[in-house]
Symmetry: C2
Subunit: 444 residues, 2 copies
């Protein structure tokens, strides 16, 4: 036995509310990556962390150990600033699609390594795969080339980046250890730090459709991630944004691509445009482009040009028609009045059950499946008027999707004060590498 | 997907401190036995149970589900009462060896399905296997025959009995989810109830050498098991007994067999005799033999005859010499005075490291390894006098065994009031099947 620790002791320590030592954390992550710590041991440890927590310094060490489990990317050879964005996941959250090309318009490299949907929240790669020909898998060299030539890339994270996190992420999903600040924060930040971006903007969702149901938990998650960014020298800004109702008017893969293209064409739903611009401004500011005008770039076609270039660079045809569902079903208003609530979680579950998401990693998704929204909270509706259209290729899925929507709306009652999408903002004071003064103190 | 539940939901419910439903419990145990619930899911659930607990009725249902995972034995065809004993495990706890034949002397069937040692506590089967020729594996038919002819049998539990418990027990050992009342109680009681005994006496150990370090936890465990016995119609008595110092003067396999034979010959250490008689009286009382005199049976050779018959029936030669260690090392007193403490856990770890126990299920044990004790708390010792003799066939093991003993004794200081071995007693009021009045109300 040449291992310096035994997993049983590490689990017991956390179970008994002890603070794990640095060497214990380094070892358990490394040994889990090597397969010496078994899945059933890591899941017991994850549950103990879920219920007993971790200190700030345990989380930092845990994050670092996950970074060290794999390779680190380095974009400094590009000669331009890099900015990345991460969303904690919501319903109808297609913002990455218009955002990445929009920011790239201003000479900022946007390396958007993304994931697939699991559970009721959609996955960026699943959405883009509804575009004929588009491929998610790129080599590191292809990523660099595309960042240099196009500026934006949205692709799958390579298997070399934080492999410990990949293994743990899949494990947490099947063991009910997902909604836990230390594990969420370290998972997100290990990938983003390993990816080597200079600056990072986090979209931390709050509300029924998000992992964090209330502002307090979301703020704790945001604070933890912003601090982890500071430890790693990555400029990190977190916007806390509303996810009590779906973002935009669509939830589903091809449906969300269509809506994203509308935004890039200068139109689209007001909330999607507002959040896209808010995140773009943060990314541009962090990347040293405070004077950039992203609103103009949406209006004048530059963002759309960048989108077309980005899709084509990955084999996609931006002009090809998107697939359309063979079956639809309409949900209508039962009464007349003001729509006071449209629940994000319920709509997410419905879209998922229609085929837009997967129950298990290996399940396929339907490009066409999802929910189209015809009225948002604050709108006045009349009885019989369509509220939602459900889309799927497999009509036997309608029943369970409709069940999910049984309590999804309120008509009448009191409308909550319309709140801004952006609820709060946290940031660290790291100066991104590309903007740092030289060591002798002079500005570049 | 034809499963009525998803493990993720069951884990989440317990994680969030909900009470699990009966159907959820039945399903999760059954699905785990079938391999549909994965080890990493069950270990996360076990940790959530460890940290959030289970209600009395959850524990009862969990126990029942484990019983239903396998076969149930039935000894009613024997035409004599059955009594069984279980110890929660301690250091030097060889009581089963003299106890089973002693109780059988009085016409009570003692089906003692036992386990192997894991960690610092010894295993009854490991001890008996130091007798040349003795075998632990018997068929159900052999068990019945031996109970009829000899009255006592100590053997391995067949794989058909509570297979869910077997799987979960091994899992808990590697995931730090052992020392948890609901899981310990349901594990013990599911096996004992499935085994079909009429009455059960539990020896619940308390102290450094036991899983339960304090009386309060031990009482909770005892109460839980006595209640589970009541639910299943099994007369159950629990004695809480001291395990702060080793029982008797030996810890190790062949060493403990030798001491057990001394007790059966009418001698042996006072504490071993006291506990053997206390448990025998409870078993005999429960089995309808309140007037039996076990002390006489130790004195007059009847218990030894039953032992010899029991060992021979399982292929063992009770007259063959027991194996002896090739190497010994003596630990002497550093000062003169009263020995005020000899720690059970430390001695257990030393015996284990000498080779008496195993780290992993598949490890072999040394029959000869262990610790011989020359002075017990309350004895006056002189500097240089031998306190312990360590036995092993592999002398390189002495170093780590001696390390375990570094803080095992106190000489001088204050001696705790010598307490009785039996600290408390709990019982349910079930009348064992063999002693029940008939349905028309008359006594048998």
């Amino acid at each position: 036995m040449t291992e310096p620790f035994d997993a049983v002791d590490v689990i017991r320590a956390k179970r008994d509310r002890e603070v794990l030592g640095n060497e214990q954390i380094d070892w358990v992550i490394d040994a889990y990556t090597r397969g010496v710590v078994a899945d059933e041991q890591m899941s017991a440890l994850a549950m103990a962390i879920f219920l007993n927590g971790m200190t700030r310094s345990e989380i930092a060490r845990w994050t670092n150990a996950m970074i060290n489990s794999g390779e680190r990317m380095d974009f400094s050879a590009l000669g331009k600033p890099t900015a990345d964005k991460h969303s904690t996941g919501g319903v109808g959250d297609k913002i990455t699609l218009p955002l990445a090309p929009l920011v790239a318009v201003f000479g900022v490299a946007v390396p958007q390594l993304s994931g697939r949907g699991l559970g009721h929240t959609g996955g960026t790669l699943d959405k883009l795969e509804s575009i004929p020909g588009w491929r998610a898998q790129l080599s590191n060299e292809e990523i660099m080339d595309q960042l240099r030539d196009v500026g934006a890339v949205i692709c799958a994270a390579g298997s070399g980046l934080a492999p410990a996190d990949k293994k743990l992420y899949a494990l947490r999903d099947t063991t009910s250890t997902v909604e836990c600040v230390p594990l969420i924060a370290s998972s997100i930040m290990s990938k983003k730090i390993a990816e080597g971006t200079d600056s990072l903007v986090l979209d931390v969702k709050v509300g029924s459709g998000a992992f964090m149901k209330n502002l307090e938990n979301a703020r704790e998650l945001a604070r933890t991630m912003v601090d982890l960014g500071a430890d790693a020298g990555v400029r990190t800004v977190a916007l806390l944004t509303d996810m009590s109702t779906p973002l935009g008017l669509t939830a589903g893969n091809a449906l969300e691509v269509r809506e994203s293209v509308e935004v890039l064409a200068g139109g689209g739903p007001a909330d999607v445009v507002e959040l896209t611009l808010a995140l773009a401004r943060e990314m541009l500011e962090s990347a040293g482009r405070p004077d950039a005008d992203p609103e103009a770039a949406l209006r004048d076609g530059r963002a759309m040009d960048a989108w077309n270039a980005m899709i084509r660079a990955q084999g996609g045809d931006p002009d090809a028609p998107l697939p359309v569902a063979r079956h639809t079903e309409t949900v209508t208003a039962r009464a007349s009045g003001v729509l006071t609530r449209l629940d994000a979680y319920d709509v997410g579950i419905a879209a998922w059950r229609l085929g837009a998401g997967r129950s298990r990693k290996e399940d396929p998704v339907q490009a066409v499946a999802g929910v189209e929204i015809h009225a948002k909270p604050g709108d006045t509706v009349s009885a019989g008027q369509p509220l939602l259209t459900l889309h799927t290729d497999t009509p036997e899925r309608f029943t369970r999707a409709l069940e999910a929507l049984a309590g999804a709306f309120d008509i009448g009652g009191t409308l909550e004060e319309p709140r801004s999408i952006v609820l709060d903002r946290l940031a660290n004071d790291v100066v991104p590498r590309g903007l740092r003064t030289t060591e002798t103190g002079g500005a570049r």
